[in-house]
């Protein structure tokens, strides 16, 4: 694109050490239906460009949405001047970029049915029918359903010679039934996570067919007991629950910017510091975490990151040992790495890319093992499905999680539903308590579309995955 070339040429003429322009158009559709009323049908469209200039060990970033030669020149000038001014503060603490070659390439999420081509009526009818099914039960007092469809088209041109044309699409449907009686209120959700795909994925989810089960489980949960007191118990955690636990307790602690203290003032830092690389027992020996930004359907799968680094596959935890981090071009060199793993991503054109969790999943067990095998190995424990309350400290050590549905396990059998269950643990206790992981037949992914990080805040996207997993002897109890 001519304007992109103008930006890079002008940045070079000013003396930039590195420069890029990311031209991005984001289309986002959000539909929300509550109690048979269409409360929101919104179609957002944002279009603009962000320019980064690196000079004397410092970044400058400026954004604009006016596509004229003069506006682009002004924006480059602004980014350059910010970098130059910042470099005065950084003169004794310079940033460094790992080298990368230029790429000329395109990437497009495989999409069979463009979600923006599906009629509003078809989408609304589906959400209304789900509402009707949920509300057909007297104890269901509120029904909510939503679907998000998003497309991002980016053109990234940089001074390394890259010219990348990246087009990603994702869909994210979900719904919730809230059951209420005179004593309590409990909800149950159908929440498959977000997936990089087209509308065909929504159709494959059989959302309506699940609505009856979701309503019944919400009522079951409303009338269930909790557990008396805190006690060490075993846990069988399903993939749709584990996704969030691994996101918070493995994904964020292994973002190199946190490890380096760059998020000390806001999102927090990490206990998983560089001297622990290759020797720290993060989890049991059967625990292996793979980062894979080439994962089909992965929310972070885009061909390249916003540094122009190709998507890769590597191991974050290998045989239980902390093996590597998710890195960017401006963080990797601080731990002696010569290449970035390609984890720098921005949400909108006006956001500067930041170190993000890649698609990150736990490998399934290598031995043949089913969820029933896990349950039959438990004398006293709880099985948890879906996501609820979640909270972790700013060093990513101490965490407490709830869930969406809980089942008591007694003497090797799933016995009754429970409610208000919480488990508490610390890294490294939790991941070292893994005793068994179901095999690959039971592995499922779960995509995140709203990982909050950065100032100003951005919402990152990545996919996690796991097979059901047995954890031994974790502090589990009911809330008050």
């Amino acid at each position: 694109m001519e304007l992109g070339k103008i930006a890079i040429d002008y940045a070079r003429s000013l003396g930039a050490d590195f420069a890029d322009i990311r031209i991005q158009r984001t289309k986002r559709e959000f539909i929300f239906v509550r109690d048979l009323n269409v409360k929101r049908f919104n179609n957002d469209d944002s279009y603009g460009y962000g320019i980064r200039v690196f000079k004397n060990g410092a970044w400058g970033f400026a954004h604009n949405k006016i596509f004229t030669k003069d506006a682009i020149i002004d924006t480059v000038k602004s980014a350059f001047n910010i970098a130059l001014a910042s470099s005065e503060i950084n003169k004794n603490f310079k940033l460094q970029l790992t080298p990368e070659r230029g790429y000329i390439d395109t990437y497009k999420t495989p999409v069979c049915i463009d979600p923006f081509s599906v009629s509003p009526k078809e989408k609304i009818d589906m959400l209304l029918e789900i509402n009707r099914t949920l509300l057909s039960y007297n104890d269901i007092k509120q029904a909510r359903a939503m679907v998000i469809s998003q497309n991002d088209h980016k053109i990234l041109i940089n001074s390394d010679g890259s010219h990348l044309n990246i087009d990603t699409t994702y869909v994210y449907p979900s719904y919730t039934a809230v059951a209420v009686n005179s004593e309590d209120s409990q909800s149950r959700s159908f929440n498959p996570g977000a997936t990089a795909a087209g509308w065909e994925h929504v159709l494959d989810l059989r959302m309506l067919e699940n609505a009856d089960r979701v309503a019944r489980e919400a009522i079951m949960k409303l009338n269930a007991d909790s557990l008396p007191g805190d006690k060490r118990r075993d846990l069988v955690l399903n993939p749709d629950h584990l996704a969030l636990t691994m996101h918070e307790s493995v994904g964020h602690p292994t973002e190199l910017d946190r490890v380096l203290g760059w998020e000390a003032d806001f999102a927090g830092i990490s206990f998983a510091t560089p001297e622990k690389l290759k020797n720290y027992q993060y989890g049991a020996k059967i625990v292996n975490f793979t980062a894979n930004n080439k994962l089909a359907g992965g929310m972070a799968t885009a061909g390249y990151d916003d540094d122009g680094v190709p998507n890769q596959e590597w191991q974050i935890i290998k045989d239980g040992i902390l093996n590597e981090y998710g890195t960017t071009r401006d963080t990797a060199s601080f731990i002696g790495q010569t290449l970035s793993r390609g984890c720098n991503r921005a949400t909108n054109y006006y956001d500067m890319p930041i170190n993000r969790i890649p698609n990150l999943y736990m490998e399934p067990g290598k031995e043949e093992c089913s969820p029933n095998d896990l349950i039959s190995a438990v004398d006293e424990g709880v099985m948890i499905e879906g996501q609820g309350s979640f909270s972790i400290d700013q060093h990513r050590i101490n965490f407490q999680f709830g869930g969406d549905m809980f089942w008591e396990i007694k003497n090797g059998k799933r016995t009754r539903p429970l409610k208000k269950i919480l488990y508490r643990s610390n890294n490294p206790e939790f991941w070292n308590s893994v005793e068994a992981i179901a095999d690959k037949r039971f592995w499922k992914s779960w995509g995140v579309n709203n990982c909050g990080k950065g100032q100003p805040g951005q919402t990152g996207r990545m996919t996690h995955g796991a097979s059901p997993t047995l954890f031994r002897n974790i502090m589990v109890g009911g809330s008050k």
């Binding site: 049908f41 400026a62 503060i89 009629s119 805190d230 760059w262 008050k480």
Partner: protein, 427 residues
């Protein structure tokens, strides 16, 4: 820029045939500088704008955002909104857009903030870095200035404009295991005093030593203003009349009752110019001074206009700012009122555990001090807590003087009896 968008809105109005509409234009000019480990890691500048258009055909609606100003693009987006509206289903709770109103023009704009440059940010950051280096420590933080203009108009004649500025400065100082943080967010630059912030930061930093291990328990806590607003702003998010009436929250059937402790007063006010005052909300409904709790009695819950009409209730605005009544006790006074306790600077990662009971969880952050016999004895590890905020207000033992905590809150320090710590951070 806002004037250019107003011209665009005139064009939009001429090209829509909807029964009703609401159009909101927003311009945000920001300069954000992040620093970490004594260096600048991100330094960002730019102006972004958009026009949000909601068209109503009967009780059906479609919304689009417009962020390119050429006429072809605008017409395409308007057609998109109309298509959505005509093909969607009705919202039986639809209410017509707001009509013309008179309201006061609160001044939330500060030219001194608007005039801040990159160079001004760097002077502040250099002072922070030099202060850290003097203590052989590292500092991380953020300096931001925002100039925001918004303009709302409706088919029924509402016209309103909000222009405001925000300046934010935060910093976390760290050396080995010792870390603490001070932050300010202000609508007037004169409320930002960097030397006072550094003095507070250094005092806190010097009070913190290696975190001694302490087991979780129920214990008196002195919550500094940031910790207090962390909890009560979270609680305010699920203060809602609809949810209460459905039986989904702890506020069900509690209006007019002693739901909180008798020493707890909380309100939203348009009378204090040290914090943000906005005359109307995003749909043109006027904000009013609102008491949420008075002498422990739950006075009001936010009530949407359509819900209010359906149920013959009065409309009640959202908590557009939060003011909690204070007292006259200092931290020193509070430490003498109990045998032992903790001083908590700030909370982190608060989440709902149980929406019905209102139970929350969270963690301490940025320095926890243990005191005994009226004096700080040592710093201790961070804790996880599980608490019910309204229940906690029944255990208020003392209140400190109010301070302007940020752009939206005026908050005292609180001494709370038997705060429920359920776990400690250990590694």
């Amino acid at each position: 820029m806002i004037n250019k968008l107003k011209t665009t809105i005139d064009f939009i109005k001429k090209n829509i045939d909807a029964d009703d509409y609401a159009i909101e234009a927003r311009v945000k000019d920001s300069l954000d500088t992040r620093f970490a480990q004594n260096r600048i890691t991100q330094n960002m500048s730019g102006v972004k704008f958009s026009i949000d258009v909601t068209l109503y055909y009967g009780s059906k609606s479609g919304s689009v955002s417009i962020d390119q100003l050429d006429e072809y693009f605008i017409l395409e987006r308007l057609a998109n909104a109309k298509t959505i509206a005509l093909h969607t289903s009705e919202d039986k709770e639809y209410i017509p857009s707001e009509g013309a109103k008179e309201f006061l023009d609160y001044n939330n704009f500060d030219q001194e903030i608007a005039d801040l440059t990159v160079e001004d940010h760097l002077v502040i950051i250099k002072r922070c870095v030099d202060n850290a280096l003097e203590q052989d420590a590292v500092v991380s933080g953020m300096v931001s200035r925002h100039i925001i203009n918004s303009f709302l108009t409706t088919k029924n004649g509402f016209i309103g404009e909000n222009n405001y500025t925000i300046f934010e400065h935060s910093m976390t100082i760290k050396k080995d295991e010792r870390e603490t943080r001070v932050s300010r967010s202000v609508i007037r630059k004169k409320l930002h005093d960097i030397e006072a912030m550094l003095a507070e930061l250094n005092t806190n930093f010097q009070a913190i030593d290696k975190a001694n291990e302490m087991l979780p328990c129920k214990i008196p806590v002195i919550l500094r203003p940031q910790a207090v607003i962390d909890i009560f702003s979270f609680m305010s998010w699920f203060m809602d009349r609809r949810g209460a009436d459905l039986g989904m929250t702890p506020f069900s059937n509690q209006i007019g009752k002693h739901f909180f402790g008798k020493d707890f007063d909380m309100c939203s006010t348009l009378d204090d110019d040290r914090i943000m005052r906005q005359a109307f909300d995003g749909s043109g409904l006027l904000n009013q001074n609102t008491e949420w709790a008075k002498d422990g009695v739950l006075m009001n819950l936010p009530t949407g206009k359509s819900y209010a009409q359906q149920h013959d209730l009065k409309y009640v605005n959202q908590p557009f700012n939060i003011v909690i009544a204070g007292g006259d006790k200092s931290e020193e006074d509070m430490m003498k009122m109990v045998d032992e306790g903790l001083i908590i600077n700030r909370f982190w990662y608060i989440r709902v555990i149980d929406g019905k009971s209102g139970e929350l969880t969270g963690l301490t952050r940025d320095g926890v001090l243990y005191f005994k016999n009226g004096k700080v004895e040592k710093s201790v590890n961070n804790f996880r807590w599980n608490e019910i905020p309204h229940d906690m207000t029944r255990r208020i033992l003392a209140l400190g003087k109010q301070v302007v905590n940020d752009t939206h809150s005026i908050i005292p320090t609180m001494l709370i009896k038997d705060f429920t710590l359920v776990d400690n951070t250990r590694f």
